[in-house]
């Protein structure tokens, strides 16, 4: 009778260990799946996209008979001076309009497409380690979750850099 009771205790102990391990595993898995870390991967094609779009000639010339600015020059102008273009449009508004048009032409996004959405930001970083970043252009379209590819492009602007970032969400 005593021997049987001892055996039962051992089985109960074993089951208890298994149950504790199982609960710990389920809790770990739950936390892991509920808060997945943003899965950003660097994308070569996105870098090529940003680099090429920065050369786009815009409709903005600051003065009469001055040259039309390239998009990277217009972004710089928007951040540093925010002057009005000769056509009456603000430099930031003109930059945003050009970026929106380029994005719309280059990437088709939506719930039924490969890419569900995109984001495009331009920030001023005083230095690379600086936590204080000044975002002055922000464009988003569609639905961006934690699964995306992205890349950045640097435009030097003393004393720091303008960082242009693009994300494509799938």
């Amino acid at each position: 009778m005593i021997r049987r009771k001892k055996g039962q205790e051992e089985i109960v102990g074993f089951i208890l260990i298994v149950v504790i391990i199982a609960i710990a595993f389920v809790v770990f898995l739950g936390i892991k799946l509920r808060n997945p870390e943003p899965a950003q991967r660097e994308s070569e094609i996105l870098y090529q996209f940003i680099e090429s779009s920065m050369e786009q000639t815009t409709d903005c010339a600051i003065r009469e008979n001055s040259k039309n600015l390239a998009l990277n020059e217009l972004i710089r102008e928007c951040h540093s001076f925010n002057n009005t273009c000769f056509n009456g449009e603000g430099s930031c508004a003109e930059a945003e309009k050009t970026i929106r048009n380029i994005l719309k032409s280059a990437w088709t996004v939506g719930p039924d497409n490969v890419y569900k959405g995109y984001e495009f930001n331009a920030e001023y970083h005083y230095n690379l380690s600086s936590e204080i970043n000044e975002r002055f252009i922000s464009i988003a379209e569609g639905n961006c979750t934690n699964n995306f590819v992205g890349n950045s492009y640097f435009i030097p602007e003393f004393p720091g850099n303008i960082v242009v970032q693009a994300k494509l969400c799938s």
């Binding site: 051992e10 298994v18 090529q48 090429s52 050369e55 786009q56 000639t57 032409s105």
Partner: protein, 174 residues
């Protein structure tokens, strides 16, 4: 010689060993299942990651085409992504360039923004057209890379660049 026969009562010990073995086996199986589950989650995306990396490498190769003497925009100080769109149009239908790009089934330069009504460029509709096809041999797997299509604009009296793509198709890419 007759040795005395001794009987050991070993059933209790055997039972204990059996119990221990069962527990060890059960724990190993449990941890095995957990490990398999973890590994399958961890490496589930490995195949698609490899595919993505391979594609990125091809995109880079396609982009290198923009740096070849036939495509490159040399009037600018520093623009590695700039393609001379005028030069590309001139290459079209040029007899001396027939068969120049061997192993390429498709070679096309297209404008991304802004788009015009005319799709294929000719000397009549240029620059208000969208693409110049230099090679088109039928079946291929196409890869594209973003570039800047630059030309001298006579109305602006300056260079004008627009975002475009170089599209290259290869036959039988595995």
């Amino acid at each position: 010689m007759n040795l005395p026969r001794v009987r050991y009562s070993s059933s209790k010990g055997q039972f204990k060993i059996q119990q221990m073995v069962f527990i060890i086996v059960a724990i190993i199986i449990l941890f095995g299942i957990v490990a398999v589950f973890f590994v399958s989650i961890k490496f589930g995306s490995l195949e698609s990651d490899v595919e993505d990396l391979r594609k990125e490498a091809v995109f880079t190769q396609v982009r290198k085409m923009a740096g070849t003497p036939e495509f490159i925009w040399i009037a600018s100080d520093d623009c590695s992504s700039c393609v001379d769109f005028d030069k590309v149009l001139m290459l079209k239908d040029r007899e001396s360039y027939k068969g120049f790009w061997t192993d390429i089934s498709l070679l096309k330069v297209s404008r991304v923004y802004p788009l015009y009504a005319a799709e294929e460029c000719t000397t009549q509709n240029y620059p208000e057209c969208n693409s110049v096809t230099l090679v088109n041999k039928g079946e291929y797997e196409a890869y594209e890379s973003f570039v800047s299509l630059c030309r001298f604009d006579s109305s602006l009296k300056q260079k004008k660049c627009e975002i475009g793509k170089i599209i290259m198709g290869f036959e039988g890419v595995e």
